[in-house]
């Protein structure tokens, strides 16, 4: 490939993969059988020029490849503050990746589509939450691939044989023990997002192993944990004893080695972590935002009965971010109609962090997503209140922030 026999695009992509193998200190490359490309996020001229350079050289992906969120909701951007210039350039970037033969999934939750990998599969995934989910919850194997490299791996089908691709590098390093955290709190809708936000800070780039989870978390709770831990920290793989596939026991999660370090997490730590996710101080509320990572069918199903027959306050916007595929699933399942009747808007294939959607009068947000809560203050210059899904709905109806604190205070 390096000699150009597979065309100039493969040559360019392989030259980058090989230079990166040097950086990683890899002695060889290995095959992958799937990729997820985060380079789809349009930032400006450089990301567009990179995509169009590859596409114009005739790049084709060598393995089944899903695409992460783009910079624009092609059908809905005119309802928001997106400029026509941004929309046009972001759409050009989408087209460039579609021309390479990737599947237009346009989602940051590709593990909830038909492109979900299987246990043990060697893959090259970008998007921090998706990397953590694929490694930890599914047991597929990916390094933490950055934008611009993910597409090069997809085009070549090859990656440096290092890091989390190799079984011995997947052992836990840090033991995180939950001490005195009652079942009632673990069953709370916000618990795994808050825990992920805390564990990301504690772990940094170490592989954490959680002990003391007594509930069976839903897939969307693990998704919330992964997204939070990959935002506040650098977590690409975590193990939860008795829950995730490489952790039937604590001992197995550490591959029978001793933890490098042990940290106890108490109720006080969790209350602190939850407090950090809220940067707003009053009751004012301009918008409720759900869906980072993208809202799943199960989440649409959970939202529908909460809003059925109700109507949001006229001053408060209510936005759900998801993918075109998932919206169709929700519509088919009959759970979309009550959400739309409530006055919710649905943005597809992107999110408020990846597309400059929000008009300047939107100053205060409320969300159940730790990832939105983490990034919105810096990226959007907004203030955020973190709460449960039910809190978000109730607040949207009342037109001011309302949170049920009972389980967090009493526990």
């Amino acid at each position: 490939m390096l000699d150009g026999i597979d065309g100039p695009a493969a040559q360019l992509a392989m030259s980058i993969v090989v230079r990166m193998a040097d950086v990683y200190g890899a002695s060889e490359l290995m095959d992958i059988s799937q990729a997820h490309v985060d380079s789809t996020i349009y930032l400006g001229d450089a990301t567009l020029e990179f995509a169009e350079r590859l596409a114009s050289l005739g790049a084709r992906v060598a393995v089944p490849t899903s695409l992460n969120v783009s910079g624009v909701d092609e059908c809905g951007w005119k309802d928001w503050a997106v400029s026509p210039d941004w929309a046009a350039k972001a759409a050009r970037q989408m087209l460039a990746y579609e021309r390479m033969g990737a599947v237009p999934t346009w989602t940051c939750a590709p593990y909830q589509t038909h492109m979900r990998p299987i246990f043990g599969q060697q893959i090259a995934w970008g998007e921090s939450n998706a990397i953590a989910f694929a490694n930890s919850v599914i047991g597929a194997r990916t390094e933490r691939y950055p934008d611009l490299l993910d597409i090069c791996c997809a085009i070549t089908g090859r990656v440096p044989a290092v890091g989390l691709h190799l079984a011995h590098n997947r052992a836990g390093q840090l033991l995180v023990r939950l001490v005195g955290v009652p079942r009632a709190l673990q069953e709370d809708d916000q618990f795994f997002a808050v825990l992920g936000h805390l564990v990301g800070q504690l772990a940094g780039d170490r592989i954490p192993v959680l002990d003391g989870i007594v509930v069976s978390p839903a897939e969307d709770h693990l998704k919330a944990f992964a997204a939070a831990a990959a935002s506040s920290g650098c977590v690409a793989l975590f193990h939860i004893a008795g829950v995730t596939p490489e952790a039937p026991t604590i001992d197995a999660a550490f591959q029978r080695r001793a933890p490098e370090d042990t940290i106890d997490v108490t109720m006080a730590d969790l209350r602190d972590a939850r407090r950090q996710l809220t940067t707003a101080d009053g009751r004012e509320l301009d918008m409720v935002i759900l869906g980072s990572p993208h809202f799943s069918l199960a989440e649409f199903r959970a939202l529908a009965p909460l809003v059925a027959g109700r109507r949001r306050h006229p001053r408060v916007k209510f936005l759900v971010t998801s993918s075109r595929f998932m919206k169709e699933e929700a519509d088919t399942a009959g759970v979309l109609a009550p959400i739309v009747a409530f006055g919710a808007q649905i943005t597809l294939d992107t999110c408020i962090l990846a597309s400059p959607m929000l008009p300047p009068e939107i100053r205060t947000l409320m969300t159940n997503s730790a990832k939105y809560a983490y990034y919105a203050p810096s990226l959007l210059n907004t203030r955020v209140t973190f709460g449960s899904l039910a809190d978000c709905v109730r607040s949207a109806i009342e037109g001011r922030v309302v949170r049920d604190e009972s389980v967090w205070q009493s526990a």
């Binding site: 990166m20 950086v23 611009l148 506040s232 920290g233 650098c234």
Partner: protein, 135 residues
């Protein structure tokens, strides 16, 4: 003179900007200005454009590399990045900037003890062999 491991070679000089906290460039760096904008980070509000940024590692978003590529194109990137461990994200951004625009910046990994000796404000020189010196 501090010896470092060259991840991406190059020469640079400038004022050191040192932090012990990892940084996500997505949500953390405004490539229009070169300012660090992550409100969780101790360097929030500081401009890193043209300076030698010493940061242990990247964290968070996969899009850090793309933000850094935009910064190189816009002329708002740091002059060099010094890390502790091998940070593939910073190295990749520099390698792709070289491929796309012929403009790379040095990325050098230092031993933790050497990294700890760096101080903000010192004038640093980075050479092609990954040596860092105070001038």
């Amino acid at each position: 003179m501090i010896p470092g491991r060259v991840l991406v070679p190059g020469e640079a000089h400038g004022e050191a900007l040192v932090t012990t906290d990892a940084l996500s460039f997505w949500g953390g760096y405004d490539f229009h200005t070169g300012q660090i904008i992550d409100r969780h980070h101790p360097l929030a509000g500081v401009c890193a454009r043209g300076r030698i940024l010493a940061v242990p590692a990247s964290k968070g978003s996969s899009t850090t590399t793309a933000v850094l590529l935009e910064a190189v194109r816009a002329g708002t990137a740091p002059a060099a990045i010094l890390t502790t461990g091998v940070d593939a994200f910073f190295a990749l951004a520099s390698i792709v900037a070289d491929v796309m625009y012929g403009k790379s910046f040095p990325v050098i990994a230092l031993e933790p003890a050497d990294f700890a000796s760096l101080v903000t404000g010192a004038h640093l020189v980075v050479d092609r062999d990954g040596r860092v010196s105070v001038s």
